[in-house]
């Protein structure tokens, strides 16, 4: 056992005294996760459900209005801050923060500006908008369309603007539909209830009927709401990109460490240093176990360090101390250990099956990259059929999924741990056995 630990310690010592290696193992994934976290930093903080802010949008209000109102002005007033707006006014309306809206007068010019990339989208309100959407005597609501002209180059921003336009349009419609439905219902009632009809007619003729439909234009009066929950049924919490992308990067780079570490045994065999160790009174299995234990510990330390470093980065980005991995340290530690075990197991089997270090480098690189892609190191593949099905063969998927669950307070990670331990133990054992048999001294 002492020999195994000594060899493992040598592995750790050589790794953590090599600055170039540390640059790849620690600094690069940390920098990458920080870049990704900053890129999606709109998700941090309360209510940060939109990754972007300050979307440039042009509003063209061609609405001629009716005698009494101009519904198109609602879009302008909601999105374009008044020129003399006080800081309090700007803070009161979150849409002023979401968009940098500009009012233009020419629809074609707005479309051209979208085509040229000046704006991701333009909202164009037609001239007959109020006329059609407003209810008048013998003039019921008629369908009308507003246009959101979007740039294909900025689909995310354009999609946000589309949602925004739909939301405002729906609220205008709710108010006007309420007006028409109510007046129509009262007229219908007047026709069947003569006493009511007389009072209604009289009030209408004397301008005594001044109903207040304002509440219908207020979204807070919608009786139907959506309660967003997490997968496990808890109240939705703010998505933290550092957890998902940070853990994905940590596992991705750890896979390089595992494969590279195991591959170094082939290099030692090629250079003859491993043969030198074999001639010492040390069983081969002890040498192998020591070597692979070192690789495993390297992986554990790497991921644990990255988890801590990402916590610091997350706290700095959020402006408060926040342990981003959830509150169950024991389970977090178990995930770190099992994902390291699974990765070093894969490293061991690859080193056992290839013939030369060069082969190991090539195959190891391909495996690391493929697993990284499937595990979401660059992008989530959840929405890609034909590819997403293969996620489950990677420890990256199980590890990142476990980290994400724990960060969201879901401690149901038994399957994740089981799969990772299974991968680790089976491949590790097979790798050691095969390598031991294939040793050619």
């Amino acid at each position: 056992m002492t020999k195994i630990l000594t060899i493992a310690w040598k592995e750790l010592y050589t790794t953590y005294t090599d600055r170039s290696l540390l640059l790849i193992m620690i600094v690069t994934p940390l920098a990458l996760a920080t870049i990704i976290g900053s890129a999606f930093s709109g998700f941090f903080g309360n209510g940060g459900d939109l990754p972007i802010r300050d979307i440039d949008v042009a509003i063209v209000n061609l609405d001629q209005g009716t005698e009494t109102l101009n519904n198109g002005d609602v879009f302008v007033s909601v999105l374009v801050p008044p020129a003399d707006a006080s800081p309090e006014t700007l803070l009161d309306n979150p849409l002023y923060e979401l968009t940098n809206a500009v009012e233009l007068s020419d629809a074609d010019a707005a479309r051209a500006a979208v085509d040229e990339g000046t704006y991701p989208a333009a909202i164009i309100i037609p001239a007959d908008f109020s006329e059609k959407v407003s209810y008048g005597q013998n003039d019921p609501i008629q369908p009308v369309a507003i246009e959101v002209y979007a740039s294909s180059a900025s689909p995310v921003s354009a999609s946000v603007i589309r949602t925004l336009a739909e939301s405002i349009a729906n609220q205008i419609a709710t108010g006007n539909v309420t007006v028409q439905a109510t007046i129509d219902a009262m007229i219908a009632r007047a026709q069947t209830d003569p006493a009511f009809g007389l009072r209604f007619l009289s009030a209408s003729n004397n301008d005594a009927f001044n109903p207040d439909f304002t509440p219908a234009f207020d979204p807070a009066n919608n009786p139907l709401t959506i309660e967003q929950q997490t997968v496990t049924g808890e109240s939705a919490i703010t998505f933290n990109p550092l957890v998902v992308f940070g853990s994905a990067q940590a596992v991705f780079f750890m896979m390089f460490t595992a494969l590279g570490g195991a591959n170094s045994l082939l290099e030692e065999r090629r250079d003859g240093t491993f043969q030198r160790q074999i001639v010492t009174p040390t069983p081969r299995i002890v040498l192998l176990l020591g070597k692979f234990l070192g690789v495993f510990l390297n992986c554990v330390i790497q991921v644990a360090f990255l988890c801590l470093a990402l916590t610091v980065v997350g706290s700095l980005l959020e402006g408060r101390i926040n342990f981003i991995w959830g509150n169950n340290l024991f389970l977090v530690a178990l995930v770190v250990i099992t994902v390291a075990l699974a990765s070093s197991g894969i490293g061991t089997i690859v080193a056992a099956l290839v013939k030369t270090p060069e082969q190991g480098n090539i195959i190891g690189g391909v495996i690391s990259l493929a697993f990284g892609v499937l595990g979401g190191a660059f992008f989530s593949v959840d929405g890609i059929p034909g590819i997403r099905e293969f996620r489950v063969i990677t420890p990256n998927y199980w590890g990142v999924d476990a980290f994400t669950k724990l960060a969201q307070g879901d401690q149901n990670i038994g399957l994740n741990l089981l799969v990772m331990v299974g991968i680790g133990v089976v491949f590790f054992a097979l790798g050691v056995i095969i390598f031991n048999r294939r040793l050619n001294v």
């Binding site: 085509d115 294909s152 921003s157 109510t182 009511f196 709401t225 892609v373």
Partner: protein
Amino acid sequence: MTKTLQIALNDLRLIFKDPSIWLNLVLIPIALSYVVGLASGSLNSGAPSTPTVLIDVIDGDNSALSAAFLTDVRDAYPGFVLCPLDQTDADVCAFGDEAFTPQLAQTRLEDKIALAMIEIPAGFESQINAGENVSLIYRSNETAAAPGYILQAVQSVTQRLGGALTAARVGTDVASTFDPVAFGDPDQQAAFGADVRERAAEIWAANPISVDYVVSRTVEESQPSSTQAGFGQSIPGMASMYVMFAIFPAVAGFILERKQWTLQRLVTMPLSRAQILGGKLIARFVVGMIQYTVVFAFGLLLGVRYGNDVLALVLLMLSFVLCITALTLAITTLLKNAAQANGITLFLSLTLAPLGGAWWALEIVPSWMRTIGHVSPVAWVMDGYRSLLFYGGSLSTVMPSILVLLAMTAVFFAFGVARFKFD
């Protein structure tokens, strides 16, 4: 010049002698461009990239109102399949042999078979009819990487259904305020409210205000914008990143040659130092251009259109490859061993690429990240590509990008040449 080209040719022979070059120059960049293109296509389009999107539904009410709500959700996107309501003999819901239960719905959501789950509580219709507020439960796996297009659709439907209910509530209040004696008993009031709601629902059914979402055409009128949005981002992005991966190994190459004394041997030959350095840099420049050509050609096969100005596209490629080649020379002068070189170049490749918008369009990042991103040459070349691919840009519109890249090239080259040592 001939000698310079001979050195370049010799280096190219050595580079292409290594079988792994085909993996790094062709297979991996192409595979990554494809996967990232698919992923960013679904990220960018704001709509599902898959033909069918499974949404599990637990309808605890089974009422006419809940059915009407679900019909509206189904109609929101053609690809939405509500399970188990839309289950077919062909098992479109992917239940297999299992019966649908709330537990199965939970498992399917966790396993990401269903992308969202909607739960309608028991008493939904009666509560609504009683004028009470009701919450629908919506669970999903949607994250930053999977935008809320399902939620967007559900919210829109909820807003519309809620619109009729709002009309009933506000309409009844208005009528009561106008004529307090009008409703002699609660039944009359309820009947009036129901009448308002029915009328409101009829008006809503005619879609009083719709939003025409018109996506500007890309440079090629026939090009589906979803393809261009996904691969139009991933092809130039991944190609630019892999240009760095293709050229940066020259740093370690220079250091190894120095260590093995082959560089010093060359100096003893009747060759000027400029010829030696030029030959080696030309070799890496050519590899960079081959890398661009490979990935862009793959993009063409996928249907990506690169704009109408070929000259502008080629000049952008040339200026970026030149810039990275010059940066390689500059870095070489700062490092001492191959291990350092490998670490630093990997670090640079993997940070400059996302920082500059090679992994995602810079439009989705905060403005301060956009500003910082432009320290990376990748940001400038991506600005140019986006102009050509999405906005019908020309040489004049991408000229600022080209000039910045050439300016960076000049600085890196001057720095590198001034500091480069052959021994």
